[in-house]
């Protein structure tokens, strides 16, 4: 069987602002091969696939579709070349039927009139081909299970004569049986000559399903391996092995009494029996892959999401925090993961942001003392070394790092005893990162208890006193940070 190359990506580079997401990345997709693409969060897998699907334009490099160089970039060009991506969030219209979704871009012939019968039969045919005759083409997609929705997505790709199918973490939402069904389908498609890219954090699966594995790290190509020539621990090492930089200032915090104790917390689908404690002056890291339930856990603690069970004990007293308001009253602060959507008021003055949660401290009878407001904000911003023009400039005039410092300043202002940081340095350049780490250290030294969720292994290992690792909503391990290595954590992140 001759190797037929469907897609060749050569020396692809892409940067966002000053951040290099991809550097000289090579990648190949061959006919009739299931190719795994792995790497840590932020290694550049999604960026690479988005370039392939035409959502992003590469800065440099070449892409060949079946030997012919691609000209221009658009989702249409990639689709016409037979590239089809199935993202974690499905691109389906939940209120439309299965058949309508499969043929969403070709509902009718030129006349503009839909031939319902033909469409239904065509849909039925495709569903039969993939071995899922039990899906009714007339069913509303929103009423199907997640697994079946995924099948509909795949059918949609097939109906467009896809030659390359890219699946981004397809198994994350599926049960064991559903995964087996998916695998059977993928093997069938492979036999028929489809080139498949399978992105997953579950290493076990890769050995079961894939033929080749390409490892990425920090936007670089690490290597491609045939599945028989590599084992799991080697793979983990390849994914994480890197030298640590001296980004991290020293911390001299005295770890004191327990501030927060969480017992058997359950919330929604993503948080299962989570327990942990965090002490005064301590930085407790939360490791795990994206979607492991870390954000959801801390959101439930902070009173954003509803809790379904479990105890939260704050300084020895059981509390029931139903809203963020109650959490803040109990001196808890949360630096949200999505800065622009949840962390700052982008189109409002910097000082409004800093004093937002303590507005009553700078007002009397509800009337703001603007002078006090200003000097209060300026003081706090000095502490977090934020750089800005005027204190009344809008936050969106600042760099990402300084925006984050403004968001952090809000909790400094509120004098919190417990601060939850969700990906505190996401989208922040390296220089500002070091300063934010310094801010975190200052907070801990001043006696705050800090919970830090981070998907960056370096950050987690260098900043945390202890690390909790979560996977699929559960705590899989708690590690004292005595010279911990990436591998120790990675092992707990991925399914054994």
């Amino acid at each position: 069987m001759g190797k037929e190359c469907l897609v060749e990506m050569k020396k692809i580079s892409k940067s966002f602002g000053g951040v290099h997401a991809l550097t000289n990345m090579d990648f190949e997709i061959n006919k009739g091969v299931i190719h795994a693409l792995i790497g840590e969060n932020g290694a550049g897998k999604s960026t690479l696939m988005k370039i392939l699907s035409g959502a992003y334009v590469e800065d440099s490099g070449k892409i060949l579709f079946e030997g012919k160089e691609k000209k221009g970039t658009s989702p249409k060009i990639s689709m016409d070349a037979g590239i089809s991506v199935i993202y974690q969030e499905f691109m389906l219209a939940p209120h439309l039927t299965v058949a309508e979704n499969i043929f969403i871009d070709r509902l009718s012939e030129k006349s503009g009139i839909i031939n319902w019968k033909k469409m239904r039969n065509d849909a039925k045919k495709i569903l039969k081909e993939v071995g899922f005759e039990d899906i009714d083409p007339n069913a509303k997609v929103g009423e199907l299970s997640i697994a079946y929705q995924q099948i509909v997505e795949i059918c949609k790709s097939l109906s467009r004569n896809a030659k390359v199918l890219i699946l981004d973490e397809p198994s994350a939402v599926l049960t064991f049986n559903e995964i087996q069904k998916l695998f059977t389908l993928l093997r069938k498609l492979k036999k028929e000559g489809m080139g498949i890219v399978y992105i997953s954090h579950r290493l076990e699966e890769l050995f079961e399903l894939c033929d080749n594995i390409t490892v990425m790290k920090d936007g670089y190509y690490v290597g491609s391996y045939s599945i028989d020539e590599i084992n799991k621990s080697e793979l983990i090492e390849k994914m994480v092995g890197r030298e640590l930089k001296s980004l991290y200032p020293k911390r001299n915090a005295k770890i004191g009494e327990v501030i927060l104790e969480v017992e058997n917390l359950n919330a929604g689908k993503m948080v299962r029996d989570v327990s942990f404690v965090v002490k005064k002056g301590e930085v407790l890291g939360f490791g795990g892959l994206v979607g492991a339930g870390r954000t959801e856990t801390l959101r439930a603690v902070f009173g954003v999401d509803k809790k379904d069970g479990g105890k939260i004990i704050l300084k020895g007293k059981e509390v029931d925090l139903k809203t963020p308001h109650e959490a803040v009253k109990n001196k808890i602060g949360l630096l949200a993961e999505d800065r622009k959507q949840q962390g700052v008021l982008l189109e409002m003055p910097i000082r409004y942001n800093v004093t937002l949660s303590i507005i009553n401290k700078v007002s009397k009878y509800g009337i703001i003392n603007h002078k006090k407001d200003k000097s209060f904000a300026e003081n706090i911003l000095k502490k977090v070394t934020a750089k800005y023009g005027k204190i009344d400039d809008h936050v969106d005039s600042l760099s990402g790092g300084n925006q984050q410092k403004v968001a952090l300043a809000k909790w400094l202002a509120a004098d919190c005893e417990l601060i939850i940081l969700d990906e505190p340095t996401r989208g922040v350049d390296v220089g500002a990162k070091a300063e934010i780490y310094k801010n975190i250290n200052d907070l801990a030294e001043a006696g705050a208890a800090i919970v830090m969720i981070s998907s960056e292994m370096d950050e987690l290992l260098n900043m945390s006193d202890r690390i909790i690792v979560m996977r699929q909503g559960r705590v899989t391990g708690e590690l004292e940070n005595n010279h911990l290595k990436d591998v120790d954590i990675m092992k707990l992140c991925v399914e054994e």
Partner: protein
């Protein structure tokens, strides 16, 4: 450099520039425009809309909308007239009428902020509900207010300035103060800018939103009382379509319907722009149906000017 600073000036003061253009147009069109009587007449006629638009502004700043204000105007005029015919004193009648606004606003606010229903739908439903109540209470016919009661407010003046205008100015000043100088105003604005962020900052967002709907309803009821005082009659026919004028005034005044932006003074300028457009057409004796078309077109044009000159960056 100089060109830039001129452009910035235009951006910053675009609402005022539109107002000046309107004033100049009025002066050119009619020599009668600049007479004191004409100006006082215009201002008095639009004092009610000013109050209503300012109430609306609070809701719009949170990112919501209140389509029921026109109906509250009708209800306000009817109830105050009924209370007065029952022999209540003016202050008590007015106070009780305002309380109706508080009740209605609270109800709307709870549906929007607590139950999280879309404000457009809730207030549209409230529009019919409130209008219907106004018709029920009045049996559909105008109710005359007793002599020497609320009519004094409508007719009276200090020097040449009518009471109604003074009342509107007071409401403007209070609104401007609340928006600029109180924590309430700042939080209302912040909610419109980014509700999630405000909620995560530990602020009880629902209460602030409910308060905004209460302010809107109370202002509208006050507008109804003012209408009744001007004509000495309360009728369910008042206020029809006024919600659109109020929204237009806010938006012409630079408020964003996405929330987070708004100014009391500029909203007044928005009302004045609407007033002058109406006045020019009256002076030119344009018949009333074309007037509606022209008014609508001018609203669109002035908002287009706002969009093209605004500093707001486009976010996809």
């Amino acid at each position: 450099m100089k060109k830039d600073s001129i452009l910035n000036m235009i951006k910053k003061y675009n609402t005022y520039i539109i107002l000046i253009i309107c004033i100049l147009a009025c002066i050119v069109v009619s020599p009668d425009f600049l007479t004191l009587t004409n100006i006082i007449n215009i201002v008095k006629q639009y004092a009610g809309l000013t109050v209503i638009a300012l109430g609306m502004l609070f809701v719009i700043m949170t990112g919501g909308i209140d389509l029921s204000v026109g109906s509250y105007v009708a209800l306000g005029s009817v109830t105050v007239a009924i209370f007065l015919t029952k022999g209540m004193s003016v202050p008590i009648a007015v106070l009780l009428t305002l309380c109706i606004g508080v009740l209605g606003g609270t109800f709307t606010g709870i549906l929007v902020a607590k139950i999280k229903m879309p404000p457009f739908i809730v207030t549209m439903a409230m529009m019919t509900v409130i209008k219907g109540i106004a018709f029920m209470l009045s049996n559909g016919s105008p109710i005359k207010t007793p002599l020497n009661t609320i009519g004094i407010l409508g007719k009276g003046k200090i020097g040449v300035i009518p009471y109604l205008v003074i009342l509107a100015v007071i409401v403007v000043l209070i609104s401007a103060f609340i928006i600029r100088n109180t924590s309430f105003g700042r939080i209302i604005m912040a909610i419109g800018s980014n509700e999630k962020c405000v909620l995560l900052s530990g602020i009880q967002v629902p209460y602030y939103k409910i308060a905004a709907y209460i302010i809107s309803a109370v202002c509208a009821v006050l507008g109804g009382i003012m209408a009744a005082s001007r004509t000495a009659v309360g009728t369910p026919l008042y206020g029809t379509g006024l919600e659109l004028d109020a929204i237009a005034a806010c938006v012409i005044g630079g408020a964003s319907l996405n929330g987070g932006e708004g100014s009391a003074i500029k909203t007044v300028v928005g009302v004045l722009i609407l007033a002058l457009i109406g006045n020019i057409m009256n002076l030119l004796s344009v018949p009333s149906y074309p007037q509606d078309v022209i008014k609508g077109a001018i609203i669109i044009i002035s908002i287009l000017i706002q969009i093209f000159t605004s500093e707001r960056k486009k976010t996809v």
